[in-house]
Structures are given as structure tokens and as C-alpha cells.
Point group: C2
Chain length 489, copies 2
């Protein structure tokens, strides 16, 4: 056995245990009895402790020093393992444990503060988290830029400067597009009516299968928040239903199918290796958003969906063109997760800028509420009146996720690049979509993106798939064309 073989055998077990931990997470969100929470907390704590001990096992350092990669797969495996090992080693045990303890308490405080619309109740623990994350960022950065070091956890290789340039180009054109749409004479109507949840679930299963989700290696359950979980042969998704809003269920499902098929389509040979998962949050989100928006909310596909909804729920009272507008309708609102395709990134950009200030030390956590509302007013034209529709709406910061939000918009940017490229390669895609078959597009993504798992660096992967360096331009062009047509701009 070479050092590389030893390392990979050790890593294989760690990856398998990590899948086990993920499966328990699924269980917790879907089927776990309510009274089991405390017991499960201790079980997960033990499992996480074992995983942590394995991740900092000093033998990894020895193996890494001795291993000699002989092919690109081995090289990529070593790159991932080295990066993870070095990052883990840089965070002192005391800090890691303080972060775990504080965020575990903070999540409950956040939920209570949000329910009570009481930012002041959350501010002190937020300040603790920010202080600890700043310390962690400095430790991880090792002399580099602290925020970038956090970002690197979710999007290896990305920097705030690159993202700022992209997002800076997005922001004014998204605002202009939003204003034009909302001010246009032509306005799509809302969907009215009630839609039985069981029928929504049946239709969403049909959509999942249409988008290539393999039910033999997955399943769909209901949960409070839709998510995708697991890798390899066991990738499960959840969805939810709202009787007055079938699009919530249907498009959540398509979105999670984008995440899940990415995991399902990774080369089987990478199972239980660092290459056996989606390579970054941004690339992951590019798949889910492309499935959901560029494909699922296209004129061609919504034409087919119009027929499906008519069959399932009865006449929607509008023709396929109007239905296309309804599916894509812009609306005012405070909540990121309810935002339409045009405004979604504005919600993200706001968070990106504020969290950089928090980590950079130029924004006092106690002032977050005001800073949020000021910025929101600047970007959206109206001001949140309650913390639950402002800075308390998302769970992320309470659990210590700083550097995560920008990957949502980066995913949209990547989706724009990938969609432009696949449309060039697939001139007849609309005919397939109009027949309810997105498979030419999802097969294209499978072969150029998904199958590779963690083999290439995120930006390189997108560039290999599209033939061009990633840029926000295709996303903007796509949005301006699509919404220009819907709103008659």
C-alpha cells in the first residue's frame, strides 16, 4: 500500500461516516419523533466528534507529505484532502468548540427573536458569533483576506473582489429591469384558486422524473423547508405544499431535483472520495436554479406544464402565454426565498455586502437591523417594518454561515453561462421542453458538469463546460430578454 492508498482508505471511511451523519440529518427533518430531539443531539454530537477527530488525525499530514499523485483524479483528491486538513488544523480546538456551542444556542434565540420580531433579543448572540467568526476568519486566512477565507469554505477559489465586480455589474441592471417590469402597462395576473396538496405532490413527482431524478436512488418526502440530502446512490429530497400556491411545491421540487441529480450523476467511481460530491455551493446552485428557472420557467416548458395543471387541477382560466407570465410574475416583497427571478439576486447582494462589513469590522452587529433596512429601502424602494421581514428572516448567520449567501448569486451567474452554452449546443431544445422533456438539457449538464463531481475547480469546471470564463453577462441578457418579452418592454 502506498501512502496515497492508505490515505484514501482512511478517507473512504470518513466519507462513509459523513454520509451517515447526513442521513441522520434527513431523518431529523422528516420522520424523527418530536420527543427525540435531545437524544438525537447527543448521538449527532458523538458522531461529529468522531468525524472531527478523523479530520484532524495527524496521520493525514504524514500521508499527504508522502503521497505522490499519478493521475488527475489522485491530484484532485489530494488537493481536496490537503485543503480540508489545513483548514481544520488552523482553527484552534477552543475556537471550534466555542463556535459549535454558541451557534447551537443562537439558532434557538434567532427563532424566538424572529417569532417575536425582536432584533434586540438576537443582537447580543449575533455579536458573539460575529466575534468568533472574525477570529476564525483571521485564523483561516493565515495572513490573507479574512472574508475570503470564510467564502472559501463554500466556494473554493472565489474571492470577494471577483464577486464584487460581478455583482456590481448585476445590481444596477437588475434594479432597472425590476423597475421597468413593475412599471409596465402589461402585468401578468396571479394564479387564483385552491390546489389539493396530494395532487400537487403527484404532479411534482412527475416533474421530478421528467427532470431525470432517479427514484430508485432517492425519495421525496415532505418537510418544513425543501432540501436535498445525501450523495451517490441515496439522494433524497423534500418538498412542501401550500394549497393556494402550487408553484411553491412544483418549483421547489424542480430546484431540489437540480441539486439531487447533480449528486446522483457524479461518476460512481468517486463514491466515498472527496470527488464524490458537488464541487461547490455555487456550482450546486447553478444546477438547481437552471433546472428551476431557465428550464422549468421557460415559455416552452410552462406551455407543457399548463396542460399538466389543467389535467390535474382543472382549467386555470388563462392561455399558455398568460400562464407563462403568471409563473414568472414579479411582485413586491421582503422575503428572499419568495422572490422572483429578477429580484432574487438583489436580496443576496444586500446580504453579501452587509456580511462583509460585519466580518470586516466596519458594521457593529448591534446596528445590523438599521443597516439592513436602509439598504433594502435603497434597493427596493420600500422599508421593512418588522425584523422578521428584515435581517431576521434567514437562519444562516445564526448558525455561523458567513460567506455562504454570495454562492446563491454566483450560482445564478454560472447558470446563466451554462444556459447560454447549452442553448448554442441544443438548437432544438424548445421542442423538447414544449413536450415536457428537459432531458436534452439535463443530459448536457450531466455530461459537462455533474459527472465530474469534485474533479475540477469550480471556475475551471464552468469554463470547460462553456468554453468561456464565467461572467454575469449571459445571465443579464437572458433575464432582460425573457422579462422584456413577458412585460412587453
Amino acid at each position: 500500500m502506498s501512502a496515497y492508498d492508505d490515505l484514501m482508505a482512511f478517507q473512504r471511511e470518513t466519507e462513509a461516516l459523513s454520509q451517515v451523519a447526513g442521513r441522520l440529518g434527513w431523518d431529523q427533518e422528516t420522520v424523527m419523533p418530536r420527543g427525540a430531539a435531545e437524544q438525537r443531539g447527543e448521538e449527532m454530537g458523538v458522531l461529529e466528534g468522531i468525524l472531527h477527530a478523523r479530520r484532524i488525525d495527524p496521520r493525514i499530514g504524514d500521508w499527504l507529505a508522502a503521497a505522490e499523485p499519478t493521475d488527475p483524479v489522485a491530484e484532485a483528491n489530494l488537493r481536496h484532502i490537503r485543503r480540508s486538513f489545513e483548514r481544520t488544523a488552523r482553527v484552534p480546538a477552543r475556537l471550534a468548540s466555542a463556535l459549535a456551542r454558541t451557534t447551537s444556542v443562537a439558532q434557538g434565540k434567532w427563532a424566538a427573536a424572529r417569532a417575536a420580531d425582536d432584533f434586540a433579543a438576537f443582537a447580543p448572540v449575533l455579536a458573539e458569533i460575529v466575534a468568533l467568526k472574525r477570529e476564525e476568519a483571521a485564523a483561516l486566512a493565515n495572513g490573507g483576506a479574512p472574508y475570503d477565507a470564510l467564502l472559501d469554505d463554500y466556494e473554493p477559489g472565489a474571492t470577494a473582489d471577483t464577486l464584487s465586480a460581478m455583482f456590481g455589474a448585476l445590481r444596477p441592471r437588475l434594479i432597472a429591469l425590476r423597475d421597468a417590469c413593475l412599471g409596465a402597462d402589461r402585468q401578468p395576473t396571479r394564479l387564483d384558486g385552491t390546489f389539493p396538496p396530494d395532487a400537487q405532490l403527484m404532479l411534482s413527482e412527475k416533474l421530478a422524473a421528467a427532470f431525470g431524478y432517479d427514484f430508485n436512488r432517492g425519495r421525496i418526502d415532505r418537510a418544513v423547508h425543501p432540501f436535498s440530502s445525501g450523495s451517490g446512490m441515496d439522494v433524497r429530497i423534500t418538498t412542501r405544499t401550500d394549497p393556494t400556491d402550487p408553484f411553491n411545491c412544483l418549483y421547489s421540487t424542480i430546484h431540489e431535483v437540480g441539486h439531487a441529480t447533480y449528486e446522483q450523476n457524479i461518476d460512481d467511481a468517486y463514491l466515498f472520495t472527496p470527488l464524490g460530491q458537488g464541487v461547490s455551493m455555487g456550482v450546486h446552485e447553478s444546477q438547481s436554479r437552471l433546472y428551476e428557472n431557465q428550464l422549468g420557467r421557460s415559455r416552452a416548458f410552462t406551455g407543457w406544464l399548463h396542460g399538466q395543471m389543467t389535467d390535474t387541477f382543472g382549467d386555470p382560466g388563462m392561455d399558455p402565454d398568460a400562464f407563462f407570465g403568471t409563473v414568472n410574475r414579479l411582485h413586491k416583497g421582503y422575503i428572499r426565498t419568495e422572490a422572483d427571478e429578477v429580484q432574487y439576486n438583489l436580496h443576496v447582494l444586500l446580504r453579501f455586502d452587509l456580511e462583509r462589513q460585519l466580518i470586516g469590522g466596519t458594521l457593529d452587529p448591534a446596528d445590523l437591523d438599521e443597516a439592513w433596512n436602509d439598504r433594502f429601502k435603497a434597493d427596493f424602494g420600500y422599508r421593512p417594518s418588522r425584523a422578521s421581514e428584515g435581517c431576521l428572516q434567514d437562519v444562516h448567520w445564526s448558525v455561523g454561515l458567513f460567506g455562504y449567501f454570495p454562492t446563491y448569486s454566483l450560482g445564478n451567474v454560472y447558470a446563466g453561462c451554462l444556459y447560454a452554452a447549452l442553448r448554442r449546443d441544443l438548437p432544438d431544445l424548445d421542442a423538447a421542453l414544449a413536450a415536457g422533456d428537459p432531458r436534452p438539457a439535463t443530459d448536457w449538464l450531466r455530461d459537462r458538469v455533474q459527472v465530474h463531481g469534485g474533479l475540477y475547480r469550480p471556475r475551471d469546471l464552468i469554463e470547460r463546460a462553456t468554453g468561456e470564463a464565467p461572467s454575469e453577462a449571459p445571465l443579464l441578457e437572458y433575464l432582460e430578454a425573457k422579462f422584456g418579452a413577458i412585460y412587453g418592454l
Copy 2:
């Protein structure tokens, strides 16, 4: 920290991981996607490897040598840990791994052989398993009786001699009772009709709640084989439905509720310690069988159930007295799991005698089929014509479970003892049962048996609860009285 504290902290993590492994087992039997089997096998293998390494960790030996128990709980914890540590240490790694490998293959061969009614296809791998189990038994026995060493895994402290004496007294009287029932003029009728599965499940949930199952710390799902899984705050059960046989679903549920409430009712202070689970298979089975038979199939409770079934499925076409006979009806048959209360133990006694011969080396595994059929003919009066209704009907031996079968009958014997004692203490029990409320009985069992978990040795626990040494006499008296009344003997 004392050596005892260190040992218990280590043990606590092991118990938590063991719960995780159990939860994955539940997942596998209920919700796991079919295509995930291979991946799950590897995940489970890694987790089991970690558990095994913890169980033979040499530090346990040091802690055990240094620990000084200061109270009965500590004494019981040390007894359990010492027993498990010494047993694990006695089995050479080579043998443990050969057993794991062989039984994993054998289970598939058994299923195929049973489906094809082909004992010859199973005999060679059975011979391998028996050879390995004999080797394991000799290693565990450490000079003592090999079969007892296997039995001890499921029923600590039990010996084949004690069980033989009990079972020897059971056998002739059960045969005589069976013959008298089947030859009686008065014969209960079968239940006819079809019973919608969803309604069966709804009624079985009602029964589970009536018997004290806490849904806040558990859940019921469907599975091919009913089982109970987990300890503490997360104890789940499964059931199954047959449209023509609602009793299968209802009484399987009550049976599993007996197992599950035992686990749920153990003192919370014992969670994640060796005392935090049912103390033996025999005691576990005593709870499930007592819930199912002595309580669930009593005249008083079936009177209430008659009303429930009428409400749920419509008029059963018989009065409560006839319904009581129908629920308890004896019938000829080859299959243990389908046997009535009188004949069930005859099925078990046959297996107990044959497996002792296999482990003792006086029965060649190649001859098991013939030996089984001969013995079956002697006890039941008719002879199996197919291996699937003979020695291939149960999975146990294919997975290496030797010494497990007798705990089923021991459980029935214990149930007989406990039931006699609780009836003495609860003179008004029938009135509660007739109102659909077994809680006086289940509360009695909770306080005298279940709450103690693994604190007392199995026989001692029964003796403390009943005030008498365990004996088969109460079971026989109960069966003869109950079935004498039903069949007018």
C-alpha cells in the same frame, strides 16, 4: 474523574453510536431507496467497525480493573460492560470476521433456497455457519457448556438445562391441550371478509395508544416484517397489513408496542448506559407476548375490540363471545409466526432441541431437513412437504442466531408468571380491559419490570416482580383455563 467515570463516558459514546446504527437499520427496512443497498452496506460496515474497535478497546480492561462500584447501578453497569468486553475478547478477530462474512452471504442463499424450496442449496453454507458457531461457542464457553455460551448472548444467565426442564414440562401438556381443542365439538369460526388496509392502520394506531405507546417518542411505519427499533426517546415500530386478515396487523402492532413501551419506559437516567435497554430477549418477549395475548386476546379486551371493529369495518357477523373464540382460534399449520397461542411454543421447542444438536455436533447440518420433518410429525401429527414450510421458514440460523429461539418460549413462560402476579394485584383489571384500557396492567409492568432496564438479572427481575421463582406452571394454567373455556373442554 474516577476510572468508573472514564469508563462510563467512553461507554456513553459507544451506546450513542449503537443507537445511530440501529436507526440506519430502521431506515433500511422502511424508507431506504432500493438502489442504495450497496452504498448503505459500506456505510454500515464502517460504523460497525468503529463500534467493534470501541468494544475491544484495551482501555476498557484497565478501567474495569480499577473501577470500584459505589451503588447497585454502578455495579450493574460494570457487570454488563465486563460481560460484553470479556465475550468480545474471547472471539478471535479471524473468527469474528469469518462469521460476519459467511452469514452475510448465507442470508441471500437462504432467501433463494427458501423461494426455491431447495434445502440442498442451503445445506453447505449452513454447515459452514454451524462449524463457525461451534468454534465461537467453544471460545466463548471457556471450558463451560458451548450452547449455554451462545444462549447467554440473548438471555444472560440462562442455561439449556434449566430451559429443558421448563420446556419438558410444557410440551406434553401443550400437545394434550392442542389435541383437545382441535378435537372439540365446539369450534370457533374464522373471520371472513376484506378489511381496508388504511382502516386497519388507523385502528392499530388507536390500539398502540391504548396500550401506552408514546407517539411523541416513536412512530409507526409499514415494513415487510413487523419490528421495534431504538431505545430511549426514539423507539419506532413497524407493522404490515393483509386485507383478509386484520388480526395480523392489529396483533403485530400490539406485540411490537409491548417491545417498544418496554424501551420507552426504562428510567431516563439509564439512557446511553448498558442499563438503558431491555435486559434480555426473554424479558423483552414476555412484554410483547403479554400485551398481545394475555391482555390483547383476553375475553374482556376482545369484547371492546369487537365494538371497535364493528365501528371500523362494519358488523363482523358474530357476537363478542364468538369473536373471542375467533381471535383465539387454533388452526393447523407449519409456520411458527402464524401459530396460535397454544401451539406457538411447540414450534419453538422443536427449534431449541434441533439447534442444541447442531451445536453439540450430534446432528449433521445436511440432515436438518429430515430431522425437522420427523420431529414436526411427532409433535404436530403431519409432516411438512416443502422446505419453506419446514426448516427454511425462519431467517435466524442463516444469520448465525443460535440460542435465540428458546428466548421466545422463555418469554411466554415469563409472561405467564407476570400475568398471574398482576391479576392478583389488579382484581378489577377485566373492567378496565372491557373498556379498552389495558393501562392498569401496562402501568404495573412499567413499574415492576420495564423501568428497571438492565438493572437486575433477568430471572431476578421476574422474581422481584412476581414474588416467585419463574416457572412454566402459570402459563400452562392460564392456557388450559382460557382455551378450556373457549373450546368447552
